[in-house]
Amino acid sequence: MNCTECVDLAVHVLLGQEATEIAARWHEHRKSCSACGAEAARVAELLKRVRSYDAPPTRATFRTELRERLTGLGYDDLLREARPRDRVAARWAWVRHRVRTSTAVKLALAAAAVVVVSAVAWQARDERGTLPGELVGLAPAQPESPSAPIENAPATTPAPAVEPSPPPRGASRADVAFGAPDEVQDKTLAETAIDPTPPLPPDVLERLELATERLNRFATARHLLRKRLRGEADDGAGLSPAAETAMRDATRWLLDQQFEDGSFDPARFEGQPEARVGVTALAMLALQRGGVRGVPTGLLAQRVTRGMDWLRSTRDDAGTLGMVKGADAVTLFNHAAATMAFAERYVLSGRVDEALLSDAVLRLDDLNRQRQGREAQDGDVVAARFAALALEAARSAGVPTVLNLDRVVAQARAEFEGSIDTSLIASGSLPVPQFQAAVTAGAIDPYYTAAPVLRATTLPVPTVMQVLERPELREPSLLFCATIDLHARGGAGWATFEAKLLDELAQTQQRNGSFRAEYAFDAVGRAGGVLYETALGVLTLGVPVRVAK
């Protein structure tokens, strides 16, 4: 691409209108040519100004006037408060409009089949329930009965007379018959005093003890993490009313954008369709914590379930969630964000298949390694940040089937820390990539483990605050990490930063609750658009109630 083409394409690429390949070539040229880079910055600045041009708030009487106009046109009957009967009729009309006749016939047949099968099953259950109480009395003549193994016990073991416990008041005979065998079998096993397992070798016992201790440790850590993610930990701080309102507005806006299948489409809001999995996962991270505090209930819980089901459905044969192309930055972001959402879901509700989570973690490690092995791409820094956070999320969640996860997490973090020239930290003149790496490294520990660790790469507070002061560092996921880091450190530094942060977020939050997407120079941010910015805005605002000081 030459300079003329680059200048011609600038406005179209910055508006997200060009194909990914052309945009990639354009960015490549822009980075390598200072004149084109400056020109692109000027065009971006102009587009930002035009985007900020907005109408003043709509007058309060807008709705009333509109209703009056419609009433004046004779639509008052239609717009009156709908009666329940009308509502049912309208629903029926909608169903008729939407559902084809063939589909309706299929549904009716399926419903009829369900009714027939249920009736047959009920009949069978009724017949079994009215049988004499063989199951209750452990009749030895019933080989298919669960009591059969007891009958085969050595003759020296006297079978104790086991009296079935009296049925609870109001319980039917059938209930007792089906509920009794397990209890009776347990009692009988205990009383026969036969140890069915041979003694285990000492080394196996030792390994079992270690595994048990590990599981216990995970269980305790998971319990604490669950409380923190719900915003219910004792060490969580409060939120200012302004922050709570901003968070609620943004959460509500996110909810409004969810599709029926559970996904979110970034292309509707200045993003690109490739990041659909990633932004859906970020929205899930924001929604599955139940807004400001607690866990989702009711409609919100249904939406979260739907979103998580959709994320699961995007898995391809290799186990990648949201594959775009090879191990490119947006693919890694998609997969990492989805893994993070699964890990948090696993902690919060346990409703995630462990095998699915384990596969996602292993694939994430794989994709992350592929990224390290290939040539650097635009968006890699942000994608690697999500990968590191997701791996730590899985480790803290205690995914028991990935045994070398500690090592995997350590490797991911070492990539960040190893790239930093610590001699430059004190001078505050770290190059941008090293600054980003240091801020990311500072956030990983406190976010999931509540263990702020002072490392050689820990930046001074004023240096971290530059994320709000320097436009080239204004990236939502970096801001999220800086917020975690500074909140964990607490003190006057956090107080100053929090005030500035709220001010900054208030400026970018729009009246509908979303946050403006102003970060246009990174592939991940560009693909994520307003949904990416808004979901991360919610997560950033929630840091004080979810991260321990």
């Binding site: 508006l15 084109c36 020109e39 939407r98």
Partner: protein, 201 residues
């Protein structure tokens, strides 16, 4: 997979009028913003947005799932703007400062054309926004329309072409020309020394 907005429009088309409020919720700001970008007058923009909802309600049964919801709504908006624009050009004197929206006997169409910004509103606008508004109003009508949709509504060029009924190539060239004109009008230095631009740390 049905788009949430399409779902609302389909329900309205099927006679479920309760969803109309939700449709107003969804499209009120985008429409006001669109008309504001076209005319620079908040009052007129709101009146136009109301008129779009009235037309949308009248035409509710014509919506089919084949059309994207944005396209359906903004086509109505575009057609309305053509009417308003023609009317404005035909009767420039109609922009009387005496015309107020409170006048109940006034013909609605001439009210749309006749409303104008008050001095208080003009003072209230930030200086930058005023300059931007002046520059946008200087642009040719066609360029302003594509800019309002491409930047103001973040729409894809294909969608804009569908709404305005013009080829995608024309949309592209109008956006390009609009940005170039805006730079001149706003005095953005097109010949600035690239070395002075923002660079890495």
């Amino acid at each position: 997979m049905t788009h949430p907005d399409a779902e609302l429009l389909l329900r309205l088309a099927a006679g479920e009028v309760e969803v109309f409020d939700r449709i107003v919720d969804r499209f009120e700001r985008p429409l006001v913003r669109y008309f504001h970008a076209l005319c620079g007058d908040p009052q007129l923009a709101e009146d136009c947005a109301q008129e779009v909802f009235v037309r949308l309600f009248k035409a509710r049964e014509r919506y089919t799932p084949d059309a994207a919801p944005n396209t359906f709504v903004f086509r109505i908006a575009k057609n309305l703007w053509i009417d308003v624009y023609r009317s404005k050009r035909a009767r420039p004197e109609a922009t009387s400062i005496d015309a107020t929206s409170d006048d109940e006997d006034e013909d609605r169409a001439s009210n749309l054309v006749g409303s104008s910004r008050s001095p208080i509103e003009a003072i209230g606008l930030a200086e930058d926004q005023q300059r931007l508004r002046a520059a946008l109003l200087e642009l040719p009508e066609g360029q302003r329309a594509v800019l309002a949709l491409a930047i103001g509504q973040s729409m894809k060029y294909e969608r804009i072409a569908e709404i305005l009924g013009i080829p995608v190539g024309t949309v592209k060239s109008r956006v390009h020309a609009a940005v170039a004109n805006l730079r001149k009008l706003l005095g953005v230095d097109v010949d600035a020394d690239p070395k002075k631009g923002p660079g890495p740390a």
